[in-house]
């Protein structure tokens, strides 16, 4: 079913940003539907922060454009800022202001009517559990509480679109759960959220996601679709000297891709039944001790590693 303009909250078209000779974001195109929780997933330096900065109107794109709620960030970045809430990766609140003073400052900047503030604050405090700390200086909060305050400040004006840059980075597990609860709650109320993360295990949470690698989208879709689209089958092998084993097995004719996951080796082959025994005996021939060997359903991480390898192979081919 084709999506109409009304359903699209964010539309990025060939969004590109250069810093000198470096292409930080290279022709990014994707759309996010209204009320969707969209992920920008990728390792450090993939271009997540640069993308979110361009979407929030604080960094002009080198070329391309993005529309948020129909408004172009190139033509009218200031108008975009009324609709969005952006939370930068670095804690961007005033450490020498208290929790309440920070919230009041942002409420003023977004002209939240005085009459509505009390109710909104109550709600935000309910979510964030920051109520008892309202008179504490923001600089004296723990990392997790700082992030929750940042998110609260972003939400004080009830934005249409939420742009969060690695909100859970370096945050303790409990605060991390709180943060996700808040985000899910906002999305349930119809807010559109774009959240970046470098944690692969958080990728499952998104309705849809774009996996970024070196400034390009290498995978785009819902977690299920991405896993389903995966060609080949996965062998999970427990083996000693796992890194050398990966090196050795990578050259094997039946192996499409091999990657280390903790102390296990994930090997993609086109058919587990056909190629599995060959891979196992090859490993044993090279002197490795295989203590576990089974077929498994590939996860999102397998998809990402597969896509990165493919993208790098393509890039190498382009250069050659």
């Amino acid at each position: 079913m084709p999506t109409t303009d009304r359903d699209v909250a964010v539309q990025a078209d060939d969004l590109t940003r250069r810093f000198g000779p470096v292409l930080a974001v290279d022709g990014l195109s994707f759309h996010v539907k209204r009320g969707e929780l969209f992920g920008l997933v990728g390792p450090d330096g993939a271009g997540k922060t640069t993308t979110l900065r361009m979407l929030s109107g604080v960094l002009p794109p080198s070329s391309g454009d993005a529309r948020l709620g129909g408004t172009s960030v190139v033509e009218d970045p200031e108008e975009v800022k009324h609709r969005i809430a952006y939370m930068s990766q670095r804690f961007g609140l005033y450490t020498d202001l208290t929790v309440m003073e920070n919230l009041a400052f942002y409420a003023d900047l977004f002209e939240v009517p005085k009459g509505e503030r009390e109710e909104r604050l109550e709600r935000l405090f309910h979510f964030s559990n920051l109520g008892p700390f309202r008179d504490r200086l923001a600089g004296a909060l723990s990392g997790g509480m700082k992030q929750k305050l940042g998110l609260s400040c972003a939400l004080i004006h009830q934005p249409e679109i939420l742009l969060l840059d690695e909100p859970t980075f370096g945050v303790d597990p409990i605060s991390r759960r709180d943060l996700w609860l808040i985000v899910h709650d906002m999305v349930a109320e119809g807010v559109t959220a774009i959240v970046s993360t470098a944690y692969m295990d958080e990728a499952e949470r998104f309705d849809r996601l774009a996996f970024l690698h070196r400034g390009r989208v290498v995978a785009l879709g819902s977690p299920d679709d991405l896993v389903d689209a995966m060609e080949g089958e996965l062998l999970v092998i427990t083996v000693d000297r796992v890194r050398q084993a990966r090196q050795a097995v990578t050259g094997h004719a039946a192996v499409q891709l091999a990657a280390v996951f903790g102390d296990q080796l994930h090997v993609m082959v086109s058919s587990a039944q056909r190629d599995g025994p060959a891979v196992r005996s090859a490993l044993e021939d090279w002197g490795f001790t295989v203590s576990g060997f089974q077929e498994a359903e590939p996860g999102l991480e397998d998809v990402f590693i597969h896509r990165i390898a493919r993208a790098d192979a393509n890039a190498a081919e382009e250069r050659a």
Partner: protein, 373 residues
Amino acid sequence: MLNRTRLLAVARKEVIQLRRDIRSLIMAFVLPVLLLVLFGYAISWDVQNIETGVLDRDGSARSRELIDAFRSSGYFDIRKQLEDEDEIDRLLDRGGVRIVLVIPTDFSRDVGAGRPARLQAIVDGSDANTATIALGYARAIVQSYSRNVLFQGERVTTPIESQTRVWYNEELLSRNMIVPGLVAVIMMIIAAMLTSLTIAREWERGTMEQLAATPVGRGEVVLGKLLPYVAIGLIDVVVVSVIGVVLFDVPFRGNAALLMILSTAFLIGALGLGIFISAVSRSQLLATQMAMILTFLPAFLLSGFMYAIEVMPTALEAITYLVPARYFLVVTRGIFLKGVGVEVLRVQGLLMIAFAVVGLAAAIRVFKKEIAR
């Protein structure tokens, strides 16, 4: 175009931050008073009670009369009667005295016989300024003494009599020059030092990125940040003026309202310049250094506060025309000492307003709601 709620939000935030930052508070309220007291007491170009030594070889009534003339002038403090010439060197070297008067053996005999008598003054020239002034005083005293001798106390009329009268600073006290000048210098320091930090600090701490993603306009940020500092600056003008008048007896003859109005204009210009520097440098350290070089030093050295502009080399004098403090100094000294009003300070007044407009426009123009290029 400017939204009042947002502008006041920025101003209020800035006040809260200032209140909690002891370094800024000291710079805003303690430093001006400290500078005033320090400069008011320490800098003085007035030369009085010059430590003096006398080597009286004559030892006559005449020579004692001459020494008395020096003593009673008030400029010379006769500290030491020397016995022989070797002592002169030692005393001058140790800084015990700055000038030594040598009266030769036949001083009274020569004077009595109507022959020109010789008198020697040996001056410590290491402080050239004091030395020149001391010599001038000595010459004047000797001259009036020889006139007395010549006419034996009779009243005489010289063909041309010059009478000097000093206006505005009747006693030629240098603190009367310094205190009004310091009002201007302190404004410049406060404005540049405090504001050069404010925007740079937001870039450094990452709060600017967050701020840039809100609908706040750049005019609102710049003006909101400026307001509290204008208030601080005006408080400083009042405090420094009151201390100057009460503690240092500096006359205040002009219109206080005019001083406040022109100070406000000057402050806005200086603050705008500070914010401009802050927005360009984006680092607190660089901002402070730029503020020192671009605002503090010129205000201090090239405004006519420390050194008279008239005696500067031509190239340097040309630069002083670009130093806003130069014109504000005319304003403060004019209002304090001369009691002049708008009719006299029209040009300076217009220049203050121009400075305010240019400073503010530059600040707003250069301030961008975009993160690093």
